[in-house]
């Protein structure tokens, strides 16, 4: 391939990367702006710092099932 061709090819690639710059920054901004909009909306809907249901449910549930356990074991485990 001749140098001229090479440069042409690079020019093409440069055009392409310029496109990517536009598309990429566009996508990044569109997505983050959309996120900002949704989060702002949500923060207005969500009641402020009411204890959420999960906070209440949590201690009862975590660890509960994954296996057959009797309470004694837990103490044993803590001693490791």
């Amino acid at each position: 391939m001749y140098a001229a061709n090479l440069t042409m090819e690079i020019e093409q690639l440069l055009m392409q990367s310029l496109q990517l710059l536009g598309l990429g920054m566009g996508a990044v901004f569109v997505i983050l702006l959309l996120l900002i909009a949704i989060i702002s909306l949500v923060s207005k809907i969500v009641p402020e710092e009411v204890a959420t249901p999960s906070a209440i449910v949590a201690p009862r549930v975590d660890n509960s099932h994954i296996a057959a356990i009797s309470v004694a074991l837990h103490q044993h485990r803590k001693n490791r």
């Binding site: 990517l20 598309l23 449910v57 099932h65 994954i66 074991l73």
Partner: protein, 377 residues
């Protein structure tokens, strides 16, 4: 630029979504909601639900052969490695003491497996419904939901009916979470107030040596009679031996903590990858959900009936409520028995008495799984 924009647009989810995928993402979100908000088995249902969402994203192919979920699935579920490692961790967590203190109660854990085999029958019968077609292998995989034991259900499901695995796992864990709702009415229906008030004598202390010998005895019996159950039972026994031997605490601790946690994450995501729209959104899934409910109910009832028989035979010293714990769903079912017992008699603490049938139920359903794998598999 225009071409690039079109290419980018053609690669958006908006452009590529099918209705089924949207529906399945909603299902995944629903599972996560139930797990967080209602406390439905969150350790499994959050990973499964999230895996279901990831699996239904168009283009990304996360559940495909080169995607993360696909890779995890073929490495850990197709091979059976994940459920077996979970079973090892379960073994390392389980105290078989209550069972050893009063071994006769194991019979309750046997009776409750009736739920499995009755459901097998029901699943085959469901073929009469147009649009539903369950092979014998499908039916066996569905029936194991009645074992009320997650890893057993996933192990059998992945071996006999991988296409139904998503629905089977979701049904198994959902109903395990629903045990406090499903079981009480059946318990009250099948037992009398007098029966429920029965107080049980305290369990004897079990020696260390008995606890060490138990996993070895269990393994030997299974080897002699039902080798096809030994992958499951063997890993349960191995984990339990690590725990009870007392000389390898660092291995036992890892098996019941970090290792089981890592595998739980991977297993949940992999199982979720089977929540693909084309497999899940079908009449079969509805059938599976229905059959799972039947399986739990029949299992509970069978355990209770056996409990009532033992109540009579033992001269009213055994509370039949603990029969319901025989379905497994450890330790939820034992807690439910305890709670209903307390309602009948505020001095009536059944928890430890129910733990024996409860863990016997795990063994029972592993044995049932062995039978299904030996004959149907």
């Amino acid at each position: 630029m225009e071409q690039g924009l079109l290419q980018l647009w053609a690669s958006t989810g908006l452009y590529n979504f099918t209705f089924g995928q949207l529906a399945m993402i909603a299902v995944g979100g629903g599972l996560i909601f139930l797990a967080i908000n209602k406390g439905f088995e969150p350790l499994l249902l959050i990973p499964i639900g999230f895996g279901g969402i990831l699996a239904n994203i168009p283009i990304a192919g996360i559940a495909g052969p080169d995607g993360l979920l696909g890779i995890l699935y073929s490495a850990g579920i197709e091979t059976g490695v994940f459920p077996l490692l979970i079973f090892m961790g379960v073994g390392a967590m389980t105290d078989f003491g209550p069972l050893l203190a009063r071994p006769s109660l194991m019979i309750l854990g046997a009776a409750a497996q009736f739920g499995i085999f009755f459901t097998l029958f029901g699943a085959i019968a469901m073929n009469l419904v147009p649009g539903i077609e369950f092979s014998m292998a499908d039916a066996a995989a569905i029936a194991i939901i009645g074992g009320a034991d997650g890893p057993t259900a996933i192990y059998v499901g992945s071996r006999l009916a991988p296409d139904l695995l998503g629905a089977i796992a979701v049904a198994a864990y959902s109903y395990m979470a629903l045990v406090p709702i499903i079981q009480p009415p059946i318990m009250k229906l099948l037992t009398t107030e007098e029966e429920r008030q029965t107080r049980m004598t305290q369990l004897r202390k079990v020696s260390k040596l008995e606890k060490i010998l138990f996993p070895l005895i269990l393994l030997i019996v299974t080897i002699l009679l039902l080798p096809s159950a030994t992958p499951l039972v063997g890993m349960l026994c191995f984990g339990n031996l690590l725990k009870e031997s007392g000389v390898v605490d660092r291995l036992s601790n890892t098996a019941q903590n970090e290792l089981i946690n890592i595998v739980t994450i991977f297993l949940g995501l992999s199982v979720g990858s089977k929540l693909a729209a084309d497999k899940f959104l079908s009449a079969e899934t509805l059938g599976i959900l229905l059959l799972g409910m039947v399986a739990f109910s029949i299992g509970t009832a069978a355990g209770l009936v056996m409990g009532k028989i033992m109540y009579r035979l033992s001269g009213k010293t055994i509370n039949p409520l603990i029969g319901a714990a025989g379905v497994s769903a450890v330790p939820m079912a034992a807690r439910v028995a305890n709670k209903i017992g307390l309602q009948a008699n505020p001095q009536n603490f059944l928890l430890m008495h129910a733990m024996g049938p409860n863990v016997a139920g795990v063994i029972g359903s592993a044995v049932a799984a062995g039978v299904l794998l030996a004959i149907v598999g």
